[in-house]
Amino acid sequence: MTSRAGVPPSPESPAAPAHQPRVTTRGVLRHLFLSEYFVLYLSLAYFILLAPFLAGFATLPNITGNILGNMWPLLPVVIGQTVVLIVKGIDLSQGAIIGFTSVIGAALMTSKLREVQFEKSVLWDWLLTPGGGPLANSILASPVAIGAMLLVGGLIGAINGLSISRLRMPAFMVTLVTGTFLASIAIWMTRSYNIGALPDDFIAVGKDTFIVIPFAMVVALVTALLVHILLSRTVDGRWLYATGTNEVAARVSGVPTRRAVLLAFTISGVCAAVSSVLLTARLEAGFPTLGSGTFMLEVIAATVIGGTSLFGGSGKVIWAIFGVLFFSMLSNSLSLMGLSPFVFDAVRGTILLVVIVLEVLRTRFQMTTTKAATL
């Protein structure tokens, strides 16, 4: 007996007890709502709902090229944010790390620069010349530059982590300051010009495919897998969760909580640099303004939509993937609707707000059900 409308309740059970297991529409919806895959279901529902009405939305090129294609560069940075949120931190410097490392990597690899643009840069003459950067035309340009980008990202993350864990400064303040500082340095170094003429093999990382699999997808998913293993399988992963759940209890229990915070922010920095590699390659140039504007809002929105708590102690890589998927699909559908750029952010912001409210309600509902069960 499902809750089909119009069927009168049977006379012998005028009011069925609340906790009798029955498959009802309400029960199924409740289950879907409380599931940790809620955002995935929401994404599917959104897709199915829009598909018949939005021309070009449910086509293979749109799905692989746009929806998924836009996912890969965003995914590593969202994963990094997830790790930081797990230890009850927040990293607002990721966007600036992306812009900064983009400039660093491009400056090392570029093979041609216009004097007119860069002659006033502090890097001119000793690092940058009309013939490009120090690694111009070298066969090792791409790997070395990518390595340098990851290293710089990790170092910045570590500096954030040390300031927070050792000096006990609030994470949002530290990372906001670091981010603002780096963003302005990146613009100052390049006089706000983009650095183009990057090696082909570097650009391939962002644009090419291996048969049908884009390299960007491989990079993003490998990052996801590595972080997933760290979080779910290793001692250090457990320590991250323990630190975010109850730092005092974790410390008393011998968890190196400071090291956990340091590790989380370092990972976040490296993840941001991975995103920077993908974005720089895709855009074929080092952009000092990459990751500026509303970028951090998008990252945190995607992270929270996936279900990661802003209050520490919970978060998963798979949730980050769902969050990014929803976010990417939403942006894509709004673009296809042909919204003007002015309306675009307002509409997207409103939908994100609704989803985040749902997510908060979901978590609260979960909490009250477990709480009631414990009385």
Partner: protein, 530 residues
């Protein structure tokens, strides 16, 4: 179903019924009639029926998880009963939220206090509705507020200014502020839920005086506590809950402590404290030499031997917990030395202490002991986690961890849910405490420090914790037990050292245990009666 009258309708009634009523008034102030409640099909309360006589104190006792909290949550509007009725002053009482319960005159004094510590005493008293300068002027009448606050504080003999910030008060004083708030709201029924947990002996005495005075003024109260001697001293009638059912009721004369325990656990507990089955050795495990930290402890020296259970007794603020924190490396010390296994040791870091074989059950299990939202297995594994890591990347050996946790859970008889699924917060207090003890046992301690290991734990779990301590000692571990329940130390320890004002006052070996001598030593420096 009758609906609740609006709170306003009852205001007059509140004023009439409190104070004027005679203690012998036959109509009960509160009655539960067949109250039942189940959570997800599991009965928390089954057909609970009893009443609280007007002007009396009813003692409500039972083990953790017996249903006391659920019952009080129904009364307070936190949860709703599935069936049965609650009558308050003969009228059906069905609060939908805590605000409604407060409005009809029920006050709760909890172990975890509900005051705003960043506000003043007066502001806390008036938090439900501030007096205004004029009827329509939205400005607070500070002077009037101070005046009535002073009167309310006087009624509980609390001599502090109404403008004091609550955070600067001691736990005992805060409790009195809570009571003052209840009186100020003219509550007709006051529920005390483990009110003495964070109080010193002296503060508890003061609380009891006030409770007794309130009774003589005709207030009705419910007193919930694990400290059975207090229950016996204060209460007129007793209700014993077990597994959600009322198993015994009656006037207190019918309930000597032994009978209470038997009713609570459902069996006779022959010995609350299992006899010590082993003798301490003379091998020193932990030596403390002239340890000092300004303002905390001074000139502490003692030796803890292998296989020994050493008790550390002192009043709150005597430096006992602070000493334990220093020994474990959580807090620094200025001079002196700590010698562990014959080697001088300077920790400053809990991790290194754990590696050296120290374990420390902190007094505060919610804040410092447990990851409440995390599963039992994860909590049990937390301390010993590095031992379950393998290869360079330290992958956790899940199977071995699960197995280790399951063994400990079984040996400690941790009950109340699936180890790998249930969050620790879903366990009863006694089982939570066993999880804390268990996670340290998994690290196989050589020196085990336990600070208030049985606080807020029911009788059954207490006995189990005592036998764990006894077993540890038999296996050669050196154990230091800190407790403010002297009886507990007398029952479990080989030796007791007494601290007051940061210093060791006296030492008693088992043969010389004398309650009054020990208490005397503990009170030494502050023996001036107030």
């Amino acid at each position: 179903m009758t609906t609740m009258p609006a709170p306003g309708d009852r205001q007059g009634l509140v004023a009439d019924s409190v104070g004027d009523a005679l203690p012998d008034d036959p109509a009960p102030i509160l009655a539960f009639e067949g109250t039942s409640k189940a959570f997800f099909g599991i009965d928390a309360l089954r057909d609970v029926t009893f009443s609280v006589a007007r002007g009396h104190i009813l003692g409500l006792i039972g083990e953790n998880g017996a249903g006391k909290s659920t019952l009080m949550n129904i009364l307070g509007g936190v949860v709703q009963a599935d069936s049965g009725r609650v009558l308050l002053d003969g009228l059906e009482h069905q609060p939908r939220d805590p605000g409604e319960a407060t409005a009809v005159g029920i006050a709760f004094i909890h172990q975890e206090l509900n005051l705003f510590t960043n506000l003043t005493v007066a502001e806390n008293l008036f938090i439900g509705g501030f007096p205004r300068i004029g009827r329509r002027i939205p400005l607070i009448d500070r002077r009037g507020m101070s005046r009535s606050a002073r009167a309310a504080l006087k009624s509980v003999n609390l001599d502090v200014s109404p403008d004091t910030l609550v955070e600067s008060l001691t736990p005992g004083e805060r409790q009195l502020v809570e009571i003052a708030k209840a009186l100020h709201l003219n509550s007709r029924l006051i529920i005390f839920d483990e009110p003495t947990t964070s109080l010193t002996v002296r503060e508890a005495e003061r609380l009891f005086d006030i409770i007794e005075r309130l009774r003589s003024e005709g207030r009705s109260m419910v007193y919930i506590s694990h400290i059975l001697a207090d229950v016996r001293r204060l209460c007129d009638e007793l209700v014993v809950l077990r597994d959600g059912k009322v198993v015994a009721t009656g006037p207190k004369e019918e309930f000597p402590v032994r009978t209470m325990i038997a009713a609570m656990v459902g069996r006779d507990i022959e010995l609350l404290h299992p006899p010590r089955t082993s003798l301490p050795t003379t091998e020193p495990a932990l030596e403390v030499r002239d340890l000092s930290q300004p303002g905390v402890v001074k000139g502490i020296s003692f030796v803890l031997h292998r296989g020994e259970v050493l008790g550390l007794f002192g009043l709150m603020g005597s430096g006992r917990s602070e000493l334990a924190r220093i020994l474990f490396g959580l807090d620094p010390y200025d001079t002196g030395e700590i010698v562990l296994d014959g080697e001088r040791y300077e920790s400053g870091d809990p991790r290194r202490s754990i590696e050296r074989g120290l374990s420390f059950v902190t007094e505060n299990r919610r804040e410092e002991g447990l990851l409440l939202d995390v599963t039992i297995t994860e909590n049990l594994g937390l301390v010993a986690l590095p031992r379950f890591g393998h290869t360079l990347l330290r992958f956790v050996d899940q199977d071995r961890l699960r197995q280790g946790a399951a063994e400990i859970a079984q040996s400690l008889r941790i009950r109340g849910g699936s180890l790998g699924k249930a969050p620790v917060k879903s366990l009863s207090g006694g089982n939570q405490q066993k999880v804390v003890v268990g996670k340290w046992l998994m690290a196989k301690p050589k020196v085990f420090i336990l600070d208030e290991p049985t606080r807020g734990v029911d009788v059954g779990a207490k006995v189990e914790i005592y036998s764990i301590i006894n077993d540890l000692a038999a296996q050669g571990a050196a154990t230091l037990v800190i407790s403010s329940e002297l009886e507990e130390l007398l029952g479990t320890c080989d030796r007791i050292i007494v601290m007051a004002q940061g210093q060791i006052q006296r030492e008693f070996t088992r043969g010389e245990f004398q309650e009054d001598a020990i208490l005397h030593a503990a009170f030494r420096e502050e023996a001036v009666p107030t």
